[in-house]
Structures are given as structure tokens and as C-alpha cells.
């Protein structure tokens, strides 16, 4: 076995047999799924409590038109004055009490309806009550004015735009939301991974340096081999983690789709169109179906391939920098000084992506950031769900990988000198001097 293979294998095995690594590989998806279920459970918990609302209806026509829902029940308090009703309502521990006085016109009534409750009610609850009252009082008004309600309803027009891209791809509001969400998710994922794995490499370099084992290792291999072996070994560990997650995701989504009966079929236009065969009793709402449909409509193959390239490129770029930093310093505290600029660049990339991409995915700012190699992995990954021309992606990836070669070359120089320098923290000036040694 060659040196490089030996080093890469050791780094890889060392990472994937690490307890923390194994735990995080299997616990992270569990944690995410668990979190989703937990949040779902919490919100269902919130909805399950039935809210009783007593109504003192002095008009005699409002209550009969109020529609109770599963979680919101209107109860009429007949033949009680408002003051009496208050006491009764409070002893019954109702959620609230509506008082509708009997006045001359629906407009006058509307102006003097009051709602009393112990807590301040939620926005949706107030909205529910107000909408219903508006509906009831409006139709009363129509009747008084002698207008035919059916006629009015029939002449109403509802608009829902049929959205499509120039390529003929259907888009919906859900699509836009999902693209934004998915893009940010990918960008954030890259950001987290660059940091997590980059600092893993930095720690590993610092460890070898402070243990002085590096002196023994580089008496057998070239520092460049050690550095690249370390980077590749760690990135393979990262990929392994991704593959495991991808597999878990696949298994999970297969289970979900087989339960809810959603299938994806390519249409004759070549675009993925969705056959929704969810039966009425499956209990899944049309919103969720639309969401899943929009997800399958994303350019998933492009996203996957681009993600692999940007993951590798971004990772190689940053991890070489992290390796060089690790070599230049003696301990983690000293590393902060050099980590700062890197952190700033990554955060700028993240925010530039979050702030500009959903607004205008092909805007000039988003475009510039998706060509700069230090920011392109994050920003471009945020843009791709919206659809980015392939040649643009190829140019960006080419720039990225050329920069990777340059940065590795620089990092290797710093690494070679740094790992044998002990005692003092070098300045930027000294680092530049090392490039000339």
C-alpha cells in the first residue's frame, strides 16, 4: 500500500470508528425526525383543547348562523342579561363570552359587539369570530337592502394564477416556498459541514503537532501526502455520513410514500408530474400533498450532482485552509485569530444567500457570490433549487476547483513549515514568508 492510501485509510477508519461520529451519524436523522414529530405533537396538543364560547344573542338571528367547529363551540345563553351571563360563563370556565346587543341596523350591531375572555385570545380565534359575524351581518344587510344573496354569490369571481416557467415547468406558491426552504437548507448544510469537518481536520493537525508524532510521520512521508491524506480521509468519512443519511432518508420516504400512496410519474413533457392518488380517508391534507408534489418537482438530479461537487470543492478549499491554520498554531486558542476571517467569509456567504436568493435568485449579487470560490458552494446551492443554467454551474464549479488547487498548494507550503515550528504564534507576515521557504 502506498503512503497516501495508508494515511487516508487511517484517517478514515479513525474518524468512522470514533464513537461521537457513529452516534452523530445515526442520532442526527433520528433527532430531526423526532423533532418534527415532537413539534407536530405539540401543535396538535394545542388544538385538541375545545374552546367553549358562550353567546348572549339579543338579536335572535346571529347565534343560529354561527358555525361551531371541532375545537371551537358556540353555546347560546338564553334569557340571561349580559351581567348574569358573565357570572355564568365564568363559573362554567368558558373560554369567552360574546355579547351581541339588539340594535337598529346590522352596522350598529357590528359596532357594539363585545368579546370577554380570561386570557387574551389568539389571532386565529378572533379572526374566526369576526369573519363569521361579518358574514352573518352582511347577509342580514343584503336582506334588508333587498339584494339576492345567491345572485351576488354567483357573480363573484375567484382568481388563482396558473404559474409556469418559460420551460413549461409548473410553479405554485408552495413551490416558491419549498425552493427557498430547500435552498437554504442545502446552503446551511454545506456551511455546517465545512465548519464541522474543517475544524475536525484542524484539530487532527493540532493534535499531531502537539503530540509531536508528526515528526515521526513526516520522517516517513512527505508533509503534502500527510495533509492531503488527512483531508481526503476526513472527507470520505463525511461522504459516508451523507450516504448513511441519504439511505435513511430514502428508507424513511419510501415508508411515508407507501403509507400515503403518493407516486411520481414522468409525464410525456419530460417533467416530473405528480399523480396524487391519496384516498379521501388517508387523512393527509391537500396542503401536505401539494408540498410533497412540489418537492418531487424540484430539479433533484441537478441538486444532487451539484451538491456533491460543491460539497467536495467547498470542503477541499476550506479544509486545506483549516489544515494550514492547524499547522501554523500550537493550540486551539491561537487558532482563533486565523479562524476569524474564514468565519466572516462563510457567514457573509450564508447571509448573502439568505437575503438575496429568495428575492431574486438570478440577481446580480447572488450571481457574483455564486462565482467567488469562497462563497459559491453555499450561495449556488441556495440558487439551484430555483433553476440555474448548467453552463453557469459548470463555470462556477471550474473556478472553485481551480482555486482548490491553488489553495492546497499554498496550504501545503504553510503546513510543511508550520508543523515543525513550535513555541510562537506566527503573524500573517511570517506565514507569507513561509511560502518562500
Amino acid at each position: 500500500m502506498g503512503h497516501f492510501t495508508l494515511i487516508t485509510t487511517r484517517e478514515y477508519l479513525n474518524k468512522i470508528t470514533n464513537k461521537t461520529f457513529i452516534l452523530s451519524t445515526f442520532l442526527t436523522p433520528l433527532f430531526i425526525v423526532g423533532l418534527i414529530f415532537f413539534l407536530g405533537y405539540l401543535s396538535s396538543l394545542n388544538n385538541e383543547t375545545v374552546k367553549n364560547i358562550s353567546v348572549v344573542d339579543e338579536t335572535g338571528f346571529v347565534y343560529e348562523n354561527l358555525n361551531s367547529s371541532e375545537f371551537l363551540k358556540y353555546n347560546l345563553l338564553e334569557n340571561f342579561s349580559f351581567e348574569e351571563a358573565k357570572t355564568i360563563s365564568e363559573t362554567k370556565s368558558d373560554y369567552g363570552l360574546i355579547h351581541i346587543p339588539n340594535l337598529d341596523s346590522p352596522k350598529a350591531i357590528a359596532d357594539s359587539i363585545s368579546f370577554i375572555s380570561e386570557d387574551s385570545p389568539s389571532f386565529t380565534l378572533i379572526n374566526n369570530i369576526e369573519t363569521q359575524l361579518e358574514r352573518i351581518l352582511t347577509s342580514k344587510n343584503f336582506k334588508i337592502e333587498g339584494l339576492d344573496i345567491n345572485q351576488i354569490n354567483n357573480s363573484k369571481v375567484y382568481v388563482s394564477l396558473f404559474q409556469e416557467t418559460f420551460e413549461g415547468e409548473k410553479t405554485t406558491k408552495t413551490d416558491g416556498f419549498l425552493k427557498m426552504f430547500f435552498g437554504m437548507f442545502l446552503g446551511l448544510l454545506l456551511y455546517i459541514f465545512i465548519f464541522a469537518y474543517g475544524s475536525m481536520i484542524m484539530m487532527s493537525v493540532i493534535e499531531e503537532k502537539t503530540n509531536r508524532i508528526v515528526e515521526i510521520v513526516i520522517s516517513s512521508v512527505k508533509p503534502f501526502q500527510l495533509m492531503t491524506g488527512k483531508i481526503i480521509g476526513t472527507s470520505l468519512a463525511g461522504l459516508t455520513q451523507f450516504i448513511v443519511w441519504g439511505f435513511l432518508f430514502f428508507v424513511f420516504s419510501t415508508i411515508v410514500t407507501s403509507i400515503f400512496g403518493i407516486t411520481s410519474m414522468p409525464s410525456n413533457a419530460g417533467n416530473a408530474s405528480i399523480m396524487l392518488s391519496a384516498s379521501q380517508d388517508s387523512g393527509i391534507s391537500s396542503d401536505s400533498l401539494e408540498m410533497i408534489a412540489a418537492f418531487i418537482n424540484l430539479p433533484l438530479t441537478n441538486i444532487l450532482i451539484a451538491f456533491l461537487f460543491y460539497f467536495l470543492g467547498g470542503y477541499l478549499l476550506y479544509s486545506s485552509i483549516f489544515a494550514a491554520i492547524g499547522a501554523a498554531v500550537d493550540n486551539q486558542t491561537d487558532a482563533q485569530q486565523f479562524l476569524m476571517p474564514i468565519t466572516i467569509v462563510l457567514i457573509v456567504a450564508l447571509y448573502a444567500g439568505i437575503l438575496t436568493v429568495p428575492e431574486d435568485p438570478n440577481g446580480i449579487v447572488a450571481q457574483i457570490f455564486s462565482f467567488i470560490p469562497l462563497t459559491s458552494p453555499i450561495v449556488m446551492m441556495m440558487r439551484i433549487p430555483y433553476g440555474v443554467p448548467i453552463f453557469e454551474q459548470i463555470i462556477s464549479i471550474t473556478i472553485l476547483f481551480l482555486s482548490v488547487i491553488l489553495i492546497i498548494w499554498i496550504a501545503a507550503k504553510i503546513y510543511r513549515i508550520g508543523i515543525l515550528m513550535y513555541g510562537k504564534k506566527p503573524s500573517y507576515k511570517e506565514l507569507i514568508k513561509w511560502l518562500k521557504y
Binding site: 493534535e207 503530540n211 515528526e215 516517513s220 514568508k433 521557504y437
Partner: protein, 308 residues
């Protein structure tokens, strides 16, 4: 005699700092060679050049008469002064890994390692991690890692530091055994008593320059000052003392003896012979002590560095 290693006019600079200035050293095959010098003299830089960790700015290094190249790595074993192993890797695995980096096959490395572990009676350490070992135990493992691939040239930088006397002796015996099997050993150390005990050849580096090298015996002969320690038991101390003072340069004794009444250090001129001095002493009383002062490696070291 064949030189296993020839360092030919090697210089190395770091920016404005000169780490080595035109250093030439020959290391005879099969010798135990002492590479001496104060802290910061350039020893570590020289060792790193031999290990091909760094490249010299000018000059060449020859291993067995051919210019040093990466394939020579497997013939060299290096125990650095600052030691370390991977803290979280199992001892056996990491020793095999390091041996593989030196070009050994995995299976060979494993069987060799087993032999050493049995020899040191530490076979049960195989699956332990370095963090579970004491410093001395880790040093033993490190020593094994250094010699596992049976290198022709062994470089030990302060090999005995961190060992208790028993283990230091064990390591010393192993080093002598390796030498008997044909290995050449370079010692870099500040411990002059081990230089005195083990080294036949030395080189002294100070402030980036080699200031002294050769056979330790020859160097000692060169540095000796024809001084003799004498102690006699005589009936006439004053007379003998006067006689010696007129014939020789005498000085206050620097040694201790018992049962005498005259003790002196006597410095002989090149024309004066030691047997003449002995005759005078013999004629005047009973000779208790008569010894030529041979400079110790330590004295040579201190004097050379001071005068440099």
C-alpha cells in the same frame, strides 16, 4: 572504513537565521556516533535533513555513498527528542501503521512487533491506548516503533530522557545489541556520561558550525594537557615540594586520596617524560596515586563551546 552517512558542506537558512553553516560530517558504518552541541546549535536541523524532513539549501548528504533519496527512508529509524504517539489509537495498530509508513508489509510488521512485545513483556498492551500508559511505557513503545523496521541507521535524540534507571539500562542494552547486529547509531544528547560510555566517534556543533569531530580517543589525546595527578607519602614534604616546583609547573590538586601527605597536579612540558617524574617521586617516598588527567567529554564540550 565505509561511511554509512556523509554530510558534505550542508547549509540551511531560515530567513535571516542560519541553522547550519557549511557542515561536513562523516559517520563510519557500525559506529556509535555522538552528535553533540548546546541547545539551538543546529543538531535538530541536521537530523531533520538526514531524515529528509527538510532539504538543505546547499550541500549534499550521502547514504552508503549514494545521494540521499526517499527510498532511503526505510533504512533509517528516528526517535525524536519530543516524543508522541496517537493518543486514541491502539498501541499495536499504530505501531503497525508507522512501520507500514516505513515500507514494511503489514504481516511482517505484525510478526516483528509481536517479537518485540514479547521481548519487553508487554504483549498485553496491544489493544491499549496511549492515554492508558505511563510516560515511560509510551517511551518503550516509541523505541520499538523506531527500530521495528530494522533500519541500518538509527538516530536517537536524547533516548534516555524519561526512563527510570532500570528501563534506561534496558534500552541501552538493546541499542548495543542492535549495533552488534550491524546497525549504525547516531546519538544526539546532552548527557556526557552516556557519550563517554557509548560513543566512539563524536561531532560537536555550536552556533550552526561544526567545531570538532573525530574519534573520541583522538580528540581526548588532542585535548589532554600532559597533566598528572600525584600523591605521595614522604618523610620530607618540604624538600620534595621544592624539588617538584623547580622542575615542573605545579598546581593545587583537584582530586582526593587517602594516606598521603603531599598531593599535587603536575604539568609536564613536551620534553619532560612521565617516567622521570615517577622516578623522583619513587625515590622520595611511597607513591599512593599517579594518574594522567584525561579530559572528559564534558570538559571538552564545555571548553570548546566556551572558546568558540
Amino acid at each position: 572504513m565505509n561511511n554509512i552517512l556523509s554530510i558534505d558542506s550542508v547549509s540551511k537558512h531560515y530567513g535571516n537565521f542560519t541553522a547550519l553553516n557549511d557542515v561536513s560530517i562523516n559517520i563510519p558504518e557500525g559506529s556509535i556516533f555522538g552528535l553533540l552541541g548546546p541547545n539551538g546549535a543546529g543538531k535538530t536541523t541536521l537530523i531533520r535533513i538526514i531524515n529528509q524532513i527538510t532539504q538543505p539549501d546547499s550541500g549534499k548528504v550521502f547514504f552508503n555513498n549514494s545521494e540521499l533519496k526517499p527510498s532511503h527512508i526505510k533504512n533509517i529509524g528516528y526517535l525524536p527528542e519530543e516524543r508522541g504517539l496517537y493518543p486514541k489509537m491502539k498501541i499495536g495498530e499504530q505501531a503497525i501503521y508507522l512501520a507500514q509508513l516505513k515500507g514494511l508489509d503489514r504481516s511482517v510488521a505484525k510478526s516483528e512487533l509481536n517479537k518485540w512485545f514479547e521481548k519487553f513483556e508487554i504483549s498485553d498492551w496491544w489493544d491499549k491506548k496511549v492515554t492508558e500508559l505511563s510516560k515511560g511505557m509510551a517511551q518503550k513503545v516509541q523505541f520499538i516503533v523506531t527500530v521495528l523496521h530494522k533500519p541500518k541507521l538509527l538516530i536517537f535524540d536524547e533516548p534516555f530522557s524519561g526512563f527510570d534507571p532500570i528501563n534506561a539500562n534496558l534500552i541501552k542494552d538493546e541499542i548495543l545489541e542492535l549495533r552488534k547486529q550491524g546497525a549504525t547509531i547516531i546519538f544526539s544528547t546532552h548527557r556526557m556520561e552516556s557519550v563517554e560510555e557509548l560513543c566512539e566517534d563524536i561531532a560537536l556543533i555550536n552556533k550552526s558550525n561544526k567545531i570538532l569531530d573525530g574519534k573520541l580517543d583522538n580528540i581526548k589525546a588532542k585535548f589532554k594537557s600532559n597533566t598528572f595527578e600525584i600523591a605521595v607519602n614522604t618523610s620530607n614534604v618540604g624538600h620534595l615540594k621544592n624539588q617538584l616546583n623547580t622542575l615542573y609547573n605545579t598546581s593545587t590538586p583537584t582530586f582526593k586520596t587517602l594516606g598521603d601527605n603531599l598531593r599535587l597536579n603536575i604539568n609536564l612540558k613536551p620534553t619532560q617524560k612521565s617516567n622521570e617524574l615517577l622516578k623522583i617521586l619513587n625515590d622520595n617516598g611511597e607513591v599512593i596515586h599517579f594518574k594522567e588527567v584525561i579530559p572528559s567529554a564534558s570538559e571538552i564540550f564545555i571548553n570548546s563551546v566556551k572558546n568558540n
